[in-house]
Symmetry: C2
Subunit: 411 residues, 2 copies
């Protein structure tokens, strides 16, 4: 069944990863249904920012996709976290073969912005995930659930081993004093409220796989960079969103924008943080691979590490400086995290299933720089710097506009 | 400070463990504030059951306590899970020295009753715990948070070791191939939606201790039996609630009621489940010990195993049969769990701090049998058997009224 055409629900299909995934699956001939409450558009309005790229309405996106390809992507306005009955009825009526779950608040800085944002992220993300699981059981639907998790569930303070794909082998002392080897879910160590909700998701998944035999795949994704995929390039109105602001912009994409508009690259702390990365096109490819390789009923949750390479933040900054001649400055880190960390991550499973990674070569970085130059006039320089602090004490140390401080380049 | 009089908020102080805890702390001279949304009383109405013991209104309980002791217990009607602003304002204004958190839906069978009950339990418990943590950070209050967790976070399928107090020592293979010993939060293995929410609480606590330096104690409690404490005995109107129904009645108390009213003891499956137990009076005592031994700022979450002995369910049934001559029957297990399990649990920490356990001797079991006989007329025999099934397939196997089936005694 998995290699044939499926009916697929893409929850959160209007977002940064959801939209290109929906296009790609539709392109392959699957019957794609986007379910979204459009919260990401509302958050743009709340924050007073906008995607660097001009994003059309979901209805206009549907229309253009049909015009170009003759394929329909369906859209259903449903608030999964808030409307259990509605999502349950939808699943019971449409009975998709697979459900891809992107429908969560996905920015760590946004989740730390205020007590309200912490509460919203916990309430929204936990209830969204639980409502989906609860509903699939109630309507007795054996759909494969594919969830976009994060590398952040592992934390960045190494426990000394390479990070395996979800499960860690350990030796424990048994009652008779001998050692026994067993595998456990990798101990969660979230660095923000957002990351914590993804750790809570893991518990929900493990429970529903065990109690109800649900088939679940959890993808622990690195930081996504890039913005185009094969399908988003087909028409200007199919373009993906691109976040460059301090809350939703992720580190590599934000650096590239800074370089493009002559704003110094703002490195948090020493820039010694090592992070995992993946190009958006590979992210879409990984989700397809995961869809085609579901766990069997009764299996534990399948976990893939969805990343292709690791880099230290200051090394990324230097790479971009070399390409563009931009300035680099170090500013206080708004996050509470280790100043320096190493990161060794296993990603054999996707590689063995045929992923051929797009690595971070200069030529591909040009894609983002080109986007930045093209939509330069839409950039609000005052929104580039991250201002959400992890604690009140950290908040007091932050520099909201490095340019006005006359900070010196350190690059 | 800890041995002197404190201002203490008892969240969920109208419930089965909360009420005797509030009385005991007030008796010791602490300034006790009960915060409760009275949801447990509403659930009685929903289920069409009532406490075996007649429970007065919280206001009447307050009045009687003052009349007898001259001490005031304050009461504030607040829905912690639903009203973030209200609990935040209360904490900011009253600034308690300690917060004891009982304010969660606490029955596994109730959490499995229907999709609605699953969703309610997740939403209520996760948001209640997070709102408290979030509010304590926002109002900048360094109160010691003491939470009532459950032995169920460990699960009952042994990983081969004695269950330590929260943290498990493991050896892991490091990058250079050598083994390294480290301590991790014991891998969660919840058996129901209710238990899962307590596992999610653990993640919330670990995060807030790490990010915000909160001082948190998590008590992993066994199954509570008994109903009286020194203070609840002082006056008939101070009596504690006593649940005997299939959703809220816990195994030992329910067996004792069955024996008292001549209803056969209903053992789930083979009765091979081994569980941890503690008397209510010891539970109250443990909470006081925990209050007097808070972690220091910057410490990881303090975890105690709040239990005093373990027993196999069928052995409990036989013990009660020996005392009372009652019948025992085996009925299908509504839960999805191992038919037989061993359980070895460490509880050295409370013992070292002075706990002197009340063990399950026949004389003390008489306390409950006496309650059962006294309030015999309030027992609805049709509500004794557990009917909430863990899966739809299990639901089909259940026997809702063993008496009408003419099942034979196996005792």
């Amino acid at each position: 069944m998995q290699s044939e055409h499926m009916k697929i629900a893409v929850l959160g299909g209007d977002g940064f990863c959801g939209w290109p995934t929906a296009l790609s699956l539709s392109d392959k001939g699957h019957d794609v249904h986007i379910i979204d409450n459009l919260s990401r558009r509302w958050i743009d309005a709340e924050l007073g920012v906008q995607s660097l790229t001009p994003v059309d309405s979901i209805q206009e996106r549907q229309r253009v996709w049909y015009e170009i390809t003759g394929r329909r992507i369906h859209f259903h306005l449903i608030d999964i976290a808030g409307d259990y009955e509605v999502i349950k009825q939808w699943l019971g009526k449409h009975r998709p073969d697979a459900v891809i779950h992107f429908a969560e608040q996905r920015a760590a800085p946004y989740s730390m912005k205020s007590p309200h944002h912490k509460a919203y992220t916990v309430n929204n993300n936990v209830n969204a995930t639980h409502n989906i699981l609860n509903a699939l059981v109630e309507v007795d639907l054996d759909a494969h659930l594919v969830h976009l998790g994060t590398m952040g569930v592992y934390g960045y303070s190494s426990i000394g081993a390479a990070i395996p794909e979800g499960y860690l082998g350990v030796d424990i002392a048994t009652l008779d004093g001998r050692k026994k080897t067993t595998e456990i879910l990798y101990p969660a160590n979230p660095g923000s409220i957002y990351h914590m909700t993804k750790c809570m998701d893991q518990l929900l998944f493990a429970y529903y796989a065990k109690n109800d035999g649900m088939r679940i795949t959890d993808l622990h994704q690195g930081i996504v960079w890039g913005t185009h995929t094969t399908q988003t390039r087909l028409h200007e109105q199919l373009i993906n969103r691109f976040d460059y602001d301090g809350d939703y912009g992720t580190v590599l994409n934000r650096f590239l924008i800074q370089a493009a508009v002559g704003y110094p690259l703002t490195v948090h702390g020493t820039g010694g943080q090592t992070r995992a990365f993946i190009h958006l096109q590979d992210s879409v490819k990984c989700i397809e691979i995961a869809l085609n390789n579901p766990p069997k009923k009764g299996d534990r949750v399948e976990v893939f590490n969805q990343m292709t390479e690791t880099h230290r933040v200051r090394d990324l900054a230097r790479l971009i400086q070399k390409m563009t001649g931009c300035e680099i400055i170090n500013i206080p880190n708004p996050r509470k995290e280790a100043a320096e960390n190493d990161l060794v991550v296993k990603n054999d499973k996707f590689l063995n299933l045929g992923l051929n990674p797009i690595t971070l070569k200069e030529g591909l970085l040009d894609e983002v720089v080109e986007i930045a130059r093209r939509y330069n006039r839409r950039i609000d320089r005052s929104r580039i710097v991250a201002t959400s602090a992890w604690t009140k004490n950290i908040a007091k140390t932050l520099i909201h506009d490095p340019e006005s401080k006359g900070l010196k380049s350190v690059g």
